[in-house]
Point group: C2
Chain length 312, copies 2
């Protein structure tokens, strides 16, 4: 009988590995370094060795392992093939097949990390009990993942859920990290929020506690807003309007039951959720007005959870 499965989240610095029971419970988790030398050729052998060692250590026969789910920071085709992954030095190759050979485990599936995080949050996080979920990750950039009927929507070119690059303001003059401009990521990421704060402080002569802050980042903005600082509240409202309006457009394309908001910026908590939802409801097509909003709950483990979910 299958009793166990592995979830593996490959990041640019470390690989997070979880041994799960097939009922979904996380039994053990640990990390190994991501060795990127030699175009990342050591990464998969390192992972396979770590999985094999763990099975030996716990005396688990391979017949009891349901499979290995893996997520990577790059686009994936057909649950198996990575379509270039600059952060790891990888080109185009079949990751699943390689891991099958290295571990002797038959069932191996691969996903993009943002999509896996969305699946993980649907399964045991902020989207629990839902089958149609959009996850929004607000970090240095803005990422996303789309889950339809309980499954990842990868897209024809692996770009489904790349919501950070939706066009939201055609008057923008600065470039997005991707080389084009006017993108959601330029306003709703930690970087975008800090930029907006700097611009507004320079333009306005209004008093604000933000003027005395050492590190003017997204956290400082939300902290000041929670204290009632007027300028900070203006920035939070701007971020909420930009993001809420973009999500209203997303609901006109793929209409989820719930938006799950994660990433570093989401640590701001309820004030962020409420502001985004308010502007979403203002802008949304009437049928979607009741869409739910929730905070992500699995933090950095979301990818690992989503990865293992694919093989359970």
């Amino acid at each position: 009988m299958k009793k166990y499965a592995f979830g593996v989240d490959i990041g640019g610095t470390t690989v997070k590995i979880g041994l799960f029971e097939t009922n979904g419970e996380l039994s053990q988790k640990w990390e190994i370094p991501t060795r990127k030398e030699g175009n990342g050729s050591k990464i998969l052998p390192d992972i396979a060795a770590s999985l094999n060692d763990k099975l030996k250590e716990l005396d688990i026969p391979k017949e009891e392992v349901a499979g290995v789910g893996i997520d990577v920071p790059g686009p994936i085709l057909d649950d198996e093939i990575v379509n270039r992954c600059v952060n790891l030095g990888w080109g185009v190759f079949n990751v699943a097949e390689k891991v099958r050979k290295l571990t002797g485990l038959d069932k191996v599936k691969v996903a993009n990390d943002a999509n896996a995080a969305a699946l993980g949050e649907m399964w045991q996080g902020g989207g629990e009990s839902h089958q149609n979920v959009v996850m929004v990750t607000l970090g240095t950039g803005v990422g996303g993942g789309i889950i339809s009927e309980g499954k990842i929507v990868a897209g024809a070119f692996g770009a489904s859920g790349e919501i950070g690059h939706m066009l939201v303001n055609k008057d923008e003059t600065q470039l997005c990290g991707c080389g084009k401009k006017s993108h959601l990521e330029q306003y709703a990421s930690a970087t975008g929020i800090a930029r907006k704060a700097k611009e507004l402080l320079a333009e306005s002569s209004e008093e604000s506690s933000l003027r005395g802050v050492d590190q003017l980042d997204a956290k400082a903005v939300f902290d000041a807003a929670k204290e009632g600082d007027k300028l900070a509240l203006e920035i939070v409202d701007f971020v909420g309007e930009t993001l809420g309006t973009a999500l209203a457009s997303i609901s006109c394309v793929f209409d989820p039951e719930v938006y799950v908001i994660g990433g570093g910026v989401s640590k701001a908590g309820q004030i962020l959720l409420d502001t985004v939802q308010k502007h979403f409801v203002d802008a949304a097509f009437h049928a979607s007005g009741g869409t739910e909003f929730a905070l992500a709950q699995l933090g950095n483990d979301a990818g690992m959870y989503g990865a293992v979910k694919m093989v359970l």
Copy 2:
């Protein structure tokens, strides 16, 4: 053996019915009026009678019928239940169950008409040979349908594919038909194109063949553009930019292999397709730059084709 299936497209004025062979070939098609009196209570009995008569006429036993696919101009939940359909006078009820009872045929599925049209175009129209398709219908309004892995994505509230209500210009002052504003439909529909033409003719003093036109509609604009009229070309470029940019955002949510453009406005043909694609490529996230563009091919039969496809 199952040899036949029915595709039924319920419109506000007529019901189109197709008898298909299970290999996908349309064997016969006919229409009956949509009788809306009594809150549309006669519509399904009329359809059932028409199907039963046809089977009798052709001496086809019910055992040879694979099923009935139906599409309606309203939101559908779970392939079965209509969630209000103002045009037909319908509230919330299980359409599939009703048709099963009335016809004695077991397999009945129901979809929204725009989604069914998208599925039909994927199957035997402009999206043929693709599994991930976004259909864009440019008529009096702007509608759409999303097909993922060969299946309709209906959305949690039946609003997937309602792309006409995506927000594209926050400076708009006039209202969309839905009661909110700044929506794609206000610019890329036949109505929106005529409005833009009127505005531009009033603002500009430039000579244009459009000034002498009796009926200033979308067709007149595209006809003048094809003749090289500068002002008309300006309007076409504006429409192409607005739509192409919106589609670039759609690709950041659901990333299809192909956009299929249909509806009355699409009769403009290649000039429309080329202008939209040009602006799409300018705006799109790099991974999606190679997305294909095609014209719809099934016209008013698309819904009927998509409806029957659901039961084959």
